[in-house]
């Protein structure tokens, strides 16, 4: 049992002060209203307590002006709570450019985390202080949720697509992270520690690692093992589109719409190839559902990402033969 009992967790990210200020505002408003009601109730029940057994109260049926007042007056306060809360949330959901991307895979009942250089951790996450960090999160089985109370952030980790969240650690230290979405037997112990380090220590930590391999290299190996390269030729003339220059660009689809080629798009294209067909190709790719693990998808994505700096084939759709997809 600890000696002192804090009322809020440490503030260790850019969101922590924002969320705490917001909570102070709501607390102030709510304590005010709760106090007004409480004082009024206590005052009335003392002052107007029954004096004689056959006494009745004054027959007041209501007051339209009061009704309008107590509907209209708190309304701006509700709007303020809503607006302020929405502003924090929109900021939280909008990832800034230039983030340190970490892949997070949740599975019953452990977390696998992967640094950009391929270093893997289990139930541990090391990040440098002051740097925007983005977690790209997928699940191998049920819905999990990655939550760091000291950062005031959490996000569900849902099978079937990636969710992302971001934060900027502001204080060096070790902080609990938890699984916040009930996921079965060992839900309560599916957590670990985020270690926030000075940037040079983080760099030292990374370099001292027994790296489990470069994800781009692993991805490239998988790319040929799974025979992706037989259709997705670099010049775009295979049965599937080239991945040169694709990641991060807007891809034109067969139905005329465009889609941002991000991690979710690539993941979906591997597992459900027919969901989005690139313009100029036909859906012939088989699904790799069940043939690749979430971690392998992360490696494949890393490889495909690495191709974004290659020059894209000129006129991709037109140059391609009439069959093929993605």
């Amino acid at each position: 049992m600890q000696s002192q009992m804090p009322l809020y967790p440490e503030q260790a990210s850019n969101f922590a002060p924002q969320v705490d200020n917001l909570v102070y505002f709501l607390l102030a408003v709510c304590v005010f209203f709760a106090t007004v009601i409480c004082v009024a109730v206590v005052y009335f029940i003392v002052k107007y307590r029954r004096k004689t057994p056959d006494e009745i109260g004054v027959p007041i049926h209501g007051d339209l002006r009061l009704e309008i007042a107590w509907i209209a007056l708190p309304f701006p306060l509700l709007l303020a709570m809503f607006g302020w809360g929405a502003a924090v949330y929109v900021d939280y959901r909008h990832t800034p450019a230039d983030t340190l991307d970490i892949y997070v895979i949740g599975k019953q009942w452990m977390w696998k985390l992967q640094q950009p250089d391929g270093r893997k951790e289990i139930n541990e996450l090391h990040v440098p202080v002051g740097r925007n960090v983005r977690l790209i999160m997928g699940s191998e089985d049920v819905i999990h949720d990655f939550s760091v109370p000291s950062f005031r952030v959490k996000m569900d980790v849902v099978p079937g697509h990636y969710n992302t969240m971001w934060f900027r650690p502001t204080k060096v230290g070790k902080y609990h992270f938890f699984c916040s979405q009930y996921c079965g037997t060992d839900h309560a112990v599916m957590g670990g520690w985020v270690t926030v380090m000075e940037p040079y220590e983080y760099a030292k930590w990374l370099s001292g690692s027994a790296g489990s391999g470069d994800p781009v290299a692993i991805g490239q190996k998988l790319y040929s093992e799974l025979a992706c390269n037989t259709c997705h030729l670099p010049d775009g003339k295979g049965r599937g589109p080239s991945y040169n220059g694709v990641y991060g660009s807007q891809v034109k689809l067969a139905d005329g719409s465009t889609v941002l080629a991000d991690d979710n798009y690539i993941r979906e294209s591997i597992l459900q190839p027919n969901a989005k067909i690139v313009a100029g190709y036909v859906p012939v790719m088989p699904s790799f559902q069940g043939l690749v693990t979430e971690e392998q998808i992360v490696d494949l994505t890393a490889y495909i990402k690495s191709m974004k700096d290659q020059p894209p084939p000129t006129k991709p759709g037109a140059a391609a033969p009439a069959t093929g997809n993605k």
């Binding site: 107007y48 009745i56 007041i60 002006r65 929405a86 049920v142 939550s147 005031r152 569900d156 916040s180």
Partner: protein, 547 residues
């Protein structure tokens, strides 16, 4: 005691099991929901004892997960949702509007049997492997990964849904067609308005949960891909469908309790309720807006930012009709003649606890805060303030209020007041520390927690033991009073509703002749038969506009 009443009109087990009398069916429900309350309460007790220490030594993780799941399922589907409507609503609504029975007495009995069949399936699930999915049955955990007895449980809840639908239908038709002469819509007791709003949710919402759980069951049994992405389904779709019912279901639990409070407060303040039409309209408002806020349970599932902002705004809107009720109840106390009988203690307690429960709902509706608070003990504390502090306090208040009518006898008043105070103290000690636990970041549904959370958990468990005592006391003295309580007479408080003009306990037909209503609801001034002073003790204030 009157010579003949609904309890002694006929004898024998058949006369109960085949009854179509709404009052006897209410008693059947009273016994069955009380059973489920104690089943759910037993699970809660074990949960709180287990959480006394970090590390969780009492039960295994599997067992703990089953305990909180079965606690939720028993309490929500088999106690809270039917409690006030099927027990108190069933008993008093027909009498309140001057009817002999509900519109469809046989369907009313059928509802109870459906409830029993559904309950039997769920108990079978509890007994054969238990249930460890959480009461929310999130997929694909429930549909694929859980090793517990999910299938009988979802079948049981599916079946039980029809009980709610039929009860709702019965109430709606009854209120439309069976009101006594003079019982206009604007003379309906607010308890009836609250149940009318609840019935709308029963009829429109329950089919959705029934079909949703059936789909999850089909995915589990036949691997049809509705929700599991590996089969091409979408796990988030389940949450949309689930909360489309289960958020309005929160209002199913709280609206009837608000109806009870709207009866109790004018009775023990001996004056008309303040803003009758605003309270009535706010019940309907809550029911309607309640249908369009469901995705506020899903702010962190990855749903689009725009949709989150829209649902947050709609959720803030629901605060308005809820606040209107609280302000009007408080104003009803102004210049009243206030007595502190047991039902009134529950009524006053309800105002306080519902205010805290409602205001903390704003924290969760607020998008920026929900990022931090979602799925923590803050949520657990919030909804227990609404469901235990609100719905159960309302239920117990109503039981104490209408007990003399139901049984014809009074309970020991001072013991009952002590129990009400014990409950209030125990409740706050149990659940208030959980708000702080939540803000500190303790996630819900944890069988084990880091040691820094222990102090608050010990407080919560201490409170729960006081709370348990508070629930056992009424069990004892209410049972005792059925035989030994003082005879109540027609109208012991006195109160103004039609149900208080007939015998206690009432005849099987409720009234010997059809009553004619020629007074306004909650009017003490023009009712000499109540035996109260007809002269108003203080200078009356002219009413403004809306009455």
């Amino acid at each position: 005691m009157p010579r003949e009443h609904y309890l002694n009109a006929t004898y024998g087990i058949r006369s109960w099991l085949l009854t179509t009398d709404h009052k006897r069916i209410a008693i059947l429900y009273l016994i069955s929901v009380t059973f489920f309350f104690f089943v759910g309460g037993l699970f809660a007790t074990l949960i709180r004892i287990h959480l006394l220490t970090p590390g969780g030594y009492l039960v295994t993780p599997e067992t703990y997960n089953k305990l909180f799941t079965m606690h939720g399922v028993a309490m929500i589907f088999f106690f809270l949702i039917p409690s006030i409507p099927a027990v108190l609503g069933n008993f008093v609504i027909p009498i309140m509007i001057g009817a002999k029975d509900l519109a469809f007495p046989k369907i009313n009995l059928l509802s109870w049997y459906i409830y029993l069949v559904g309950g039997a399936f769920v108990l079978y699930s509890f007994a054969t492997g238990g249930l460890d999915t959480g009461w929310t049955f999130y997929t694909p955990l429930s549909s694929i990964y859980s090793n517990s007895a999910v299938t009988p449980a979802v079948i049981g809840i599916f079946i039980n849904g029809f009980s709610s639908i039929l009860t709702g239908l019965n109430f709606i038709v009854t209120v439309h067609t069976m009101r006594a002469p003079g019982m206009t819509w604007m003379r309906l007791p607010l308890f009836v308005w609250a149940h009318y709003a609840t019935s709308i949710i029963f009829v429109l919402g329950t089919p959705v949960i029934a079909i949703t759980l059936l789909l999850a069951g089909l995915e589990r049994m036949f691997h049809l891909g509705f929700f599991n992405p590996a089969y091409g389904g979408d796990p988030i779709l389940f949450q949309h469908l689930f909360w489309f019912y289960s958020h309005p279901a929160v209002y199913i639990m709280i609206l009837p309790a608000m109806g009870v409070i709207s009866e109790i407060i004018p009775t023990f303040a001996r004056k008309p309720i303040f803003g009758y039409d605003f309270i009535a309209a706010s019940s309907i408002g809550i029911a309607v807006i309640g249908f369009i806020v469901w995705a506020h349970h899903m702010f962190l599932t990855g749903q689009s930012t725009y949709s989150a902002v829209a649902f947050s705004f709609l959720t803030f809107l629901v605060a308005v009709p809820s606040a209107v009720k609280v302000f009007n109840w408080t104003s009803t106390l102004y210049k009243g003649s206030i007595a502190f009988d047991t039902p009134m203690l529950y009524g006053l307690g309800f105002i306080g606890l519902f205010t805290i429960g409602g205001l903390t709902g704003l924290f969760l509706a607020c998008l920026g805060l929900d990022i931090h608070l979602h799925d923590t003990y803050f949520v657990v504390a919030h909804f227990h303030y609404i469901m235990v502090g609100g719905a159960i306090m309302g239920y117990l208040g109503g039981i104490h209020f209408w007990w003399p009518k139901i049984t014809g006898r009074l309970y020991p008043e001072y013991l009952a007041r002590i129990a009400a105070i014990v409950l209030f103290v125990g409740f706050n000690l149990t659940f208030f520390p959980q708000f702080i636990l939540g803000y500190l970041g303790m996630p819900r549904r944890y069988h084990d927690y880091p040691p820094e959370f222990q102090v608050l958990n010990v407080m919560s468990t201490a409170g729960a033991s006081i709370l348990a005592l508070g629930y056992l006391l009424p069990m004892v003295y209410l049972t005792w009073s059925m035989r030994y309580g003082k005879v109540a007479g027609k109208n012991p408080w006195p109160a103004t509703g039609l149900e208080w003009t007939t015998n206690s306990p009432p005849l099987t037909e409720n009234f010997s002749e059809t009553p004619v209503v020629d007074w306004e609801t909650y009017d003490f001034e023009h009712r000499p038969e109540l035996g109260l002073s007809s002269t108003v003790p203080r200078k009356p204030i002219p009413a403004h506009g809306d009455d």
